[in-house]
Symmetry: C2
Subunit: 190 residues, 2 copies
């Protein structure tokens, strides 16, 4: 190894903390370090031994979550009819958004906005590319900026997560609802 060959048990603990933090923060964005340490089966001091501060921990979790997401999203076939590609992308994205929603909140009030945006860049770009292609092919509307369309997609998904949490729709209904709404919203105006 070129750098930082931590001891085996240390690596195990770091992993445990990371997954425990992901779980806790997904439940409650304001989860304390004590809570997380306990969930990881680890002393709070140990946690601070690996992550200098709460913010550092959250950042690490966030980075990991994005990486996991990118991996599944990378497998989605974005070729062919842009409308169908978007449907596939929503299918996959949707679960991720639902799952990591609270974590995003945690990141937003522990990290500087610029950093959050930075880490979001990759998944953002993927959506943008698809939308651009659809616009070029005349399938998606061009009377609104692409960045706005991305934001609409983002917000509709988050809204769906809220609706689920409030018990007004079920998890199964979400994806078709989102797809139907967005495909319609992205249609070129008549």
């Amino acid at each position: 190894m070129a750098v930082a060959t931590k001891r085996a048990d240390a690596q195990r603990n770091i992993a445990a903390i990371l997954t425990a933090a992901a779980e806790c923060l997904s439940r409650d964005p304001a989860a304390s370090t004590s809570e997380i340490a306990k969930a990881a089966g680890v002393g709070r001091v140990t946690l601070y031994g690996h992550f200098p501060s709460r913010a550092d921990l959250i950042e690490a979790v966030f980075v990991q979550a994005i990486a996991i997401g990118e991996e599944t999203l990378g497998k989605v076939d974005l070729t062919g009819d842009p409308r169908e590609a978007l449907t596939r992308l929503i299918e996959s994205s949707w679960h991720l958004v639902d799952q990591w929603r609270a974590l995003l909140v945690a990141a937003q009030d522990a990290l500087p906005p610029s950093r959050v945006r930075e880490l979001h860049a990759d998944p953002m770009a993927r959506v943008e590319r698809l939308l651009e292609r659809g616009r070029a092919e005349g399938v998606f509307r061009t009377d609104l900026p692409t960045s706005w369309l991305v934001s609409v997609m983002h917000n509709v998904m988050h809204g769906a997560a809220t609706e689920i949490q409030a018990g007004r729709i079920t998890s199964d209904e979400a994806a078709p609802y989102i797809t139907a709404t967005l495909l319609s919203a992205f249609n070129p105006p008549t």
Copy 2:
């Protein structure tokens, strides 16, 4: 007066606290009572004299904000073509959402969700009625539940507020963007 004839200066102070709280909480949903009291030109103790707890204060501010909103919204003409009526409603709602956005956040983590929902009922109902009428007239889609459409409208507006805050769009652009997006999204599927 039937009840509670407070002294004149007390009433003045209550009003000052209420408006100061509205201002502070709109800037920062986590504004402290000290901050609000100072902004109102009043001692912190005086504040607690009128509002037993932070939550009570926030509720009062929230109620007032809703009342003010309802007043302007009540003036909007919702008759005629549902699409045009929706456009008018968005024009008016939009500024309110943008203005009270942070306050809603404050209410959400100081009040029980049920209470928040309860206070939102009136403005919610107005939108619902319009959408229902549009559906009945075949202008808006009926393949998705009305409550979902309401939530989409809600979230697109909030998203627009975020975009403004991030400097990606201007306040002037927001209304037309929202309108264009929602009218398209609410179209019956072809």
